[in-house]
Amino acid sequence: MMSAFARFVKPAALFKRASPSAQDSSIVVDSARKASGGRTRNRVVMTMAVFLAIYSTIAGRLVWLGFQDPDASGPPPSRVTASRPDITDRNGEILATDIKTASLYAEPRHIVDADEAIDKLSTVLPDLDYEQTYHKLKSGAGFVWLQRQLTPKQQAEIFQLGIPGLGFRTEKRRFYPAGSTAAYVVGLTNIDNKGISGMEKYLDDQGLTDLQQMGLVKDMSPVKLSIDLRVQHVVHDEIVSGMERFHAIAAGAVVLNVKTGEVMAMASVPDFDPNNPYNANDKDRLNRMSAGLYEMGSTFKSFTTAMALDSGKVGMNSMFDASHPLRVGRQTIHDFHNMGRALSVTDVFIHSSNIGSAREAMAVGIEGHREFLHRMGVLERMQTELPEVATPTEPKVWKQVNSLTIAFGHGVSTTPLQTAVGCAALMNGGFLIEPTFLPRTVKQAMEGAKKVVSEKTVAALRYLYALNAEKGSGRNARVPGYRVGGKTGTAEKVINGRYSKGHNFNAFVAAFPMDDPQYIVLTIADDPKPEKPGMGATAASNAGIMAGNIIRRSAAMLGVQPDFSHENEPTLVSYQ
């Protein structure tokens, strides 16, 4: 503006200098300029004022806008969720995956015609509630959700409709197709897609989250578990129906590969649906197989027998007096079925004699007993991938009475999974192999294996397991063709500090096929009642039946060849 003014003044000066000879004409010009000079000045000032006003208005408006809060519309800030690798079972079936879901929102202020918008929307979303949506769109609110979790197809179709004022917000969500079937093993993630339990937590503990934050991991290959979804379903199905059938407060089972330590299936009920885990933190929602501590009862006699035989102090034909209860200090050890005679090691095992087992432990001694159970890993904290692992408890000081009761599984608490692992060592040739939830080969397993008992002890234990399933308490778990062996365990539960007669914790450990054991199945039933009044509530009549059913339904999937050459029943191969 100033320059314009300057330019206006300058020509006159130039004119004067350029033509000093033309004084006469310059007078006319000069006077003409003078005649209108005052008004020109005024015009210039006015123009300046107008422009100044316009620009200052704009500047003022900008400052005012700068101080204004932005319009409170639009979706809430989106959660940044890290992507996680898929989790699959050993056959590649998906157990957990990330899916992207889009949610539809509207900004009613920007909706031009609510009726038209709803009409168009209902072509894609037929179950849209007309009235409710209409009120939402007419509400004048800054932001409303219309429909959560659309499929990509629906999203694309709504996008194609081109309705103004609608938008999408995509979110990653963890989805578990198997639902509650493998809930405890697979685990859960929280709202930020971080693992909080099970294998999901294990993955995060392996440094996955750190890698992601550094942006190193983009495409993650799926993580394969050792779980077989089909077997897992069988196990879950059996314990769910078993818990109901035997009126138990909880049930659980694990199928363990004896040679590799892989957990093929593990489930515990009551459980939760990982897709809607509203009750996952309830008090009774606990992975009882690895995080529950129980006095395992007579299944511990497997260890007592193995210990007695492995020590070399006891042979298969050693006799133990079990004709009358054993008195230690103030306590008396009874038998459930007193045979009233001296029993051999075989008889002690088959008749599940508490007195006999106590005498076996006595033969080995307190220190030897304690050392053996630690060697078998049943009193150590288990080393495995699953974060939910309980630490077994034992008496601080082992006295004679402790050793004698521990011989038949009372006085120490351990997890069922550990018991299964210990029994696996007694079946696979004497190698203690830590359980794993990731695939492992026999070779890898043997690298970390620890020899705990001799071949001879293993052979004796295999014989006892097989015999017990044929003649002893394990008959309910027998499955034709699959040569099942097993041991029952009925432990009285401690209620208010006393062993209670009416409440049991039952377990059954089964191995099959007995000629070369491949798998251990351990089932538990917490506080089961007789199925029908008058029927038994011991381990054989609930945990044993569950184990038998699991083996019957899953043996073929586990790749065990049926063989009837050991069965006594005549087989007829029909010819034509």
């Binding site: 995956t97 990509p152 063709g481 191969v573």
Partner: protein, 122 residues
């Protein structure tokens, strides 16, 4: 007025401008195509993820078990029994009848075209 070299230079300039413009245009179009393809790939990937989840949901053993129960009348599927597994070696040999023997022999004689090619046949 204009020298030939001027005309050539002007022509060069004009054509260079035209070419630059065209290349720029083409590049922009290609870029748009790339963005579109990237968006398409993202959608496809998301859809694949979703379909895989869907597939595993539909093939859940629990669901299949329920379905076999519901359609047991039509499908008549039963859990496999241990007795139904037989090794190949356990199968009895197929009994031979005299007809089989003669038929087999007959086939050989009738349609037995010799596959050996000798120098004389060609």
């Amino acid at each position: 007025m204009f020298r030939t070299s001027d005309i050539i230079l002007i022509a060069l300039m004009v054509s260079a401008t035209a070419m630059t413009y065209k290349i720029k245009r083409d590049a922009e179009e290609q870029q748009t195509a790339v963005y579109r393809l990237q968006a398409q790939i993202r959608t496809e990937n998301d859809t694949i993820d979703l379909l895989r989840a869907d597939w595993s949901l539909l093939t859940q053993p629990a669901r299949l078990e329920k379905l076999t129960d519901v359609y047991s009348a039509q499908l008549d599927l039963q859990p496999v029994d241990a007795h139904q597994f037989v090794k190949l070696g356990d199968l009895p040999a197929k009994p031979l009848t005299i007809e089989d023997l003669t038929k087999q022999g007959g086939d050989m004689a009738d349609s037995g075209q010799d596959r050996i090619v000798t120098g004389a046949v060609q």
